[in-house]
Amino acid sequence: MLLLACPWCGPRSEEEFSCGGEGHIVRPLASAEMDDAAWGDYVFMRTNTKGVHYERWCHANGCGRWFNIARSTTTNEILAVYQVGDNKPELPK
């Protein structure tokens, strides 16, 4: 049971959140010019990292705000919490 620190509400149990999957996937602006392969990559292909996963969460049963976290998918340790739109944070070694 993860304990996630919502940037607006503080630490809360995972039951209050919904996970939006991999973060930093930018929606293409010129999709009409893309070929099927490039579009398919955007819609379906994922890195599914074993290790540090940068992902989106929403405090769905709380303030309703989205935010990003960096989490280890092998230990579930949360390494960073950061705002939507921010770059991937530098992580301590």
Binding site: M1, L2, L3, S13, S18, G20, V26, R27, P28, L29, S31, A32, M34, D36, W39, G40, Y42, V43, R56, C58, A60, G64, R65, W66, T75, N76, E77, I78, V84, G85
Partner: protein, 1007 residues
């Protein structure tokens, strides 16, 4: 009724003044408060308490605590019956009823014990090698296997008891209230930290309860009582006896099962049976103790063979004598005090058989004083007796300890064999936390590996769980770690700490001589896992056959797979397999411990949220009216919606026909409150809608309404609805009933994460509004009376517009939003009023509508009405694989803008012309209603196998058309209007004409 022939004259933590009667297998017996069922059975001279899983061998109690593998009983009766309860965990209460398991017809005479005779045919995994011929007999073989397997019987009727959940946060959770745990809790508590101390037992004290130890010159239990008192008074400490910590989950979340009333015959009124705690602890201190291992030797399962520490506990804690004449067989120091305690209790100790070449001198002299013979460099090589131990054989092992020197050796008569093969730290919870365990060859056990305190799990281990055997060390480390855990949680002690307790000294420890099985000359079974009936020979067989990983061995032989999760067997099994493979134990690995530590009641995990509380029920403000008027309800998501309103004597079909007719010929009314509603505001609201809907929104005038479709990025339709423009920067969106929450999440995720530059705000307003939808030729007339101030002419209030107004007679001045939209193609109005006014609105309409024979209709009639005019239903005409073009709504797709999912519409597969496309269907026989889901086929033969061409999505009888009709998704259907097609179901093929998906045109009347 026996008074307890094995009850000692004095001693034990039982209340001798009170007597409790109980029944075991129908026989009435007596015990005392403080007894467990196990101690009471021993007191009453019961030796055989159950039959083993596979061989049905008679079994007695082997342990005194939660590691007991044999003594499983069915406790209580009726709906409270509970199978597989450990007798050692059951606190005795007046009137307790228990029965033994896995025997027929009786515990004493069990036909299943034939299996023991046939056991040469039943080695580990025998079922993988046989029962394959003839193939069609497997179900018969399996039936027999199933009946033979299984332990106890489940209850036959539902559970009358209640379960609760409780959630807590704390600074330090101390698991286990033995000496180390008590010291840790005391020191942590002195810092002011919030402490929870949980222990499985009814009493705090842990292993001290079963021993005659001394602390500070007095009985150790006096020290326990003092700490217990201090903790009970401290406001920052919560003490939870009868509470087992069962699971260690991520981020220091732990579950605990508190047995609130299991020690009573039944819960007090209002009391739950059990309570499942979920604790989030900043720091966890595990003081979970250690479990004694038996030694694996021939017939070591005979009733009367017991762990040495268990025998000691029965004497000291319960005042019962587990036998008259004992032999101890040991390879470590811990059982020497047991020999002394046994002798003190009047048990004749015939011999202490010491595996090590030299018995420890300090103990040797103490035993000598008590007149107990110690036979060093010897082993018990076999136990004799069947339903009870009658004696043991003593032998000498060779230097490698893998064979006997000089045969079976001398026999000693006895009725109690106490085994101590060493101690296994109880690290199940630590392993669950994700921490690694390391093998310590000298100690012959796994110990906690280095714990990374910077990781998510902040956990420390103290006491015998940490490998410490000496009481003084346990007390000292417990105190130190309790204090440091509190510090780590941000609490520091002011002033002096508690005085350090001093334990009585014992002789210096001599190292254990680990041994995993005792060789024998015969072929007697030497059990490793008693509950699963796994022998040393089974493990050797598994190793021989190439099952080399401990996980393979475990699964092949079932060792460690029982309800005790192998607490007494895991290490012995590892050792035997490592020996068989000639590798070190860590190479065989060890199995990962998984929650729960101790079997966890389903009812407690379910808690209160079952039955009517399984899932919230959503009802509209008009629900009471629907109910009073006989509506049958349909669950839609969490909502209950009127399905149809049968009049007296009407079945569903007739009711729906009546409702459908009324809506087309006069006036119908439907409760549309459940439709999702989202209030969208902000200067960029129109741009936002442009991006989420397939059609354009910027040109929609204030006062206008527009139908929209939403796609996923995969291009597939997932929701639809009409959205109205209330103001230039303000929209009222409607969604499907079931999709409302998902649509709001969808909008929020895009607006927050991808388009933060748009100034737009989305708010669910579903429950703010009550909605009555009226339709039919008389709708305008009714509206004229309902909203007399409003100009309802087609010019002033055209189709697909909305107006704000007030409803006559219901709370003057309250704004109603009236939308000229509907689901039926008829002249329709959707009247939205603040939710609280819903019932009044409904009553007003029903009153005014009486002259038009206004007819409430439910979801089924609504489905028929919308299908007649070819309106799609999300989830019926769509299933996540349907594009707007497939639905014939391609013309809605804007070419001028991008929107979510647009690019997916031009992929190779979504452009295919032979995709399933929405068509209408009229069966040749107008009275045949094909079932929804029926398949289109190429020819007229429905025989399998063949590939279908699509399916029927909606199918109804229309009283307006006086015939059936259907909608379907047919491959290339848009180009096939006028052709015929066969529809297959249940082996039949029904011919139908393919039509446009629209069967009725309400025409001018609706304009």
């Amino acid at each position: 009724m026996t008074a307890g022939k094995n009850r000692l004259e004095s001693g034990g933590r039982i209340d001798r003044a009170q007597h409790l009667t109980f029944q075991f297998d129908g026989e009435t017996m007596s015990g005392h408060p403080g007894d467990t069922l196990a101690s009471a059975l021993i007191a009453n001279g019961v030796r055989v308490v159950g039959r083993s899983f596979k061989y049905h061998r008679p079994r007695g109690l082997m342990a005194a605590g939660g590691e007991e593998p044999n003594g499983l009983v069915r406790l209580r009766t009726g709906g409270r019956a509970e199978p597989n309860v450990r007798a050692t965990d059951i606190l005795l209460y007046e009137g307790l009823v228990a029965e033994s398991q896995n025997r027929w017809p009786s515990l004493n005479f069990d036909l299943g014990s034939l299996n023991d005779r046939l056991s040469p045919l039943f080695p580990a995994g025998f079922y993988y090698k046989t029962f394959m011929w003839p193939a069609n007999m497997w179900p018969v073989y399996e039936g027999v296997i199933r009946r033979m397997a299984g332990l106890g019987r489940a209850a036959e009727t539902p559970d009358p008891d209640r379960y609760e959940k409780q959630y807590a946060h704390c600074d330090v959770l101390v698991v286990g209230a033995g000496p180390a745990g008590l010291a840790a809790a005391q020191w942590a508590a002195r810092t002011g930290a919030r402490v929870i101390l949980a222990d499985e037992g009814a009493e705090f004290g842990g292993a001290l309860l079963g021993k005659a130890e001394e602390i500070d010159g007095g009985p150790a239990l006096a020290w326990v009582a003092a700490i217990r008192g201090e903790l009970a008074e401290a406001e920052n400490v919560r003490c939870l006896p009868r509470t087992t910590v069962t699971g260690y989950y991520d981020h220091n979340a732990l579950t605990m099962l508190q047995r609130v009333s299991d020690h009573l015959a039944e819960p007090e009124p209002g009391q739950p049976r059990q309570r499942l705690w979920q604790v989030r602890a900043k720091q966890v201190v595990l003081a979970t103790g250690a479990l004694e291992r038996p030694l694996v030797l021939a017939n070591n399962d005979r009733p009367g063979v017991m762990l040495a520490g268990a025998a000691q506990t029965y004497i000291n804690r319960y005042g019962v004598r587990p036998g008259q004449k004992a032999v101890l067989f040991i390879n470590n120091d811990s059982a020497y005090p047991v020999a002394l305690d046994l002798a003190r209790a009047g048990v004749k100790v015939a011999a202490v058989v010491e595996l090590r070449a030299q018995a420890p001198l300090g103990w040797l002299s103490r035993l000598d004083e008590a007149g107990i013979e110690v036979m060093a460099d010897r082993a018990v090589v076999a136990v004799e007796g069947k339903k009870a131990v009658s004696g043991v054989r003593i032998g000498k092992l060779n230097a490698a300890r893998d064979s006997l020197v000089g045969g079976m050796g001398r026999r000693i008569d006895c009725d109690l064999v106490c085994l101590s093969g060493g101690w296994t730290p109880s690290l199940h919870l630590l392993s669950q936390s994700g921490a690694k365990l390391l093998w310590d060859a000298a100690a012959g056990c796994f110990l906690p590996g280095p714990i990374d305190q910077t990781a998510a799990q902040a956990v420390r281990v103290v006491g015998t769980a940490n490998g410490g055997g000496n009481l003084q060390d346990c007390l000292d480390l417990g105190a130190e770690v309790g204090n440091s855990a509190a510090n780590a949680a941000g609490h520091r002690r002011r002033g002096r700490g508690p005085r350090s307790p001093k334990a009585a000294t014992t002789p210096d420890e001599t190292p254990i001589l680990p041994i995993w099985s005792i060789p024998q000359n015969g072929t007697s079974k030497a059990f490793v896992d008693f509950q699963s009936d796994v022998t040393a020979a089974d493990l050797h067989l598994a190793a021989r056959e190439g099952y080399r990983s401990i996980e393979h061995v475990k699964r092949y032989t079932t060792t460690g797979m029982g309800t005790d999760q192998g607490r007494t067997s895991n290490i012995n099994a590892l050792g035997i397999v490592a020996g068989a493979l000639d590798v070190d134990i860590p190479e065989v690995g060890h199995t990962t411990f998984r929650p729960p530590f101790s079997p966890l009641t389903f009812g407690a995990v379910a808690g209160r949220r079952i039955g009517p509380l399984l899932d919230p029920v959503r009802r509209t403000p008009m629900h009471a009216w629907h109910q009073a008027n006989g509506a049958v309800f349909e669950p839609v998501g969490q909502w209950l919606r009127p399905y149809y309103y049968p009049a007296t004597g009407e079945n569903m079909e007739r009711a729906v026909n009546r409702e459908v007719l009324a809506a087309r010929t006069s006036l119908g009314i439907m409760d549309a409150t459940t439709l999702g509603k989202i209030d969208i505001q902000g200067p960029d609201a129109a741009e936002f809608l442009n991006r989420v809907y397939i059609n354009g929104w910027k040109g929609l005038a204030v006062g206008g309404c527009r139908y929209g479709l939403m796609l996923g990025e995969d291009g597939m339709v997932f929701d639809d609805g009409v959205t109205a423009r209330l103001a230039p920067d303000h929209f009222h969106m409607t969604t499907t009933t079931g999709g409302a929450a998902h649509v709001l999440d969808w909008l929020e995720s895009w607006s927050q994460t991808e388009w933060p530059e748009l100034s737009v705000y989305c708010t669910s307003s579903t429950e703010q509004w009550a909605v009555a939808s009226i339709c039919g030729p008389n709708a305008r007339r009714l509206m004229a009376e309902l909203c007399p101030e409003m100009d309802l002419s087609g010019e002033a209030f055209p189709h697909m517009t909305w107006q704000s107004g007030t409803v006559a007679g219901i709370a003057a001045g309250i704004e109603a939003r009236i939308f000229r939209i509907g689901f039926t193609g008829e002249l329709s109005y959707e009247i939205n009023v603040p939710a609280g006014y819903g019932p009044a609105l409904w009553q007003a309409i029903m009153g005014l509508g009486e002259k038009y024979a206004i007819t409430p209709f439910g979801t089924e009639a609504m489905h028929v009405l919308r299908a007649e005019v070819g309106f799609i239903m999300i989830g019926q005409e769509t299933d996540g694989t349907v594009t707007p073009h497939d639905l014939g709504l391609g013309r809605m797709v804007s070419s001028k803008k991008d929107f979510l999912g647009k690019r997916s519409l031009t992929r190779a597969d979504t452009m295919r012309e032979d995709r399933p496309q929405l068509v209408g269907l009229l069966t040749d026989d107008p009275m045949i209603r094909v079932p929804e889901g029926a398949q289109f086929i190429a020819g007229s033969d429905a025989s399998p196998p063949q590939t279908g061409l699509g399916h029927v999505t909606s199918s109804y009888y229309s009283p307006n058309l006086d015939r059936t009709f259907a909608l379907g998704l047919l491959q290339g259907g848009h180009g096939r209007h006028g052709e015929s097609i066969h529809i297959a179901y249940d082996g039949k093929a029904v011919r139908a004409e393919i039509t446009v998906p629209r069967f009725l045109d309400p025409g001018e009347a609706a304009k």
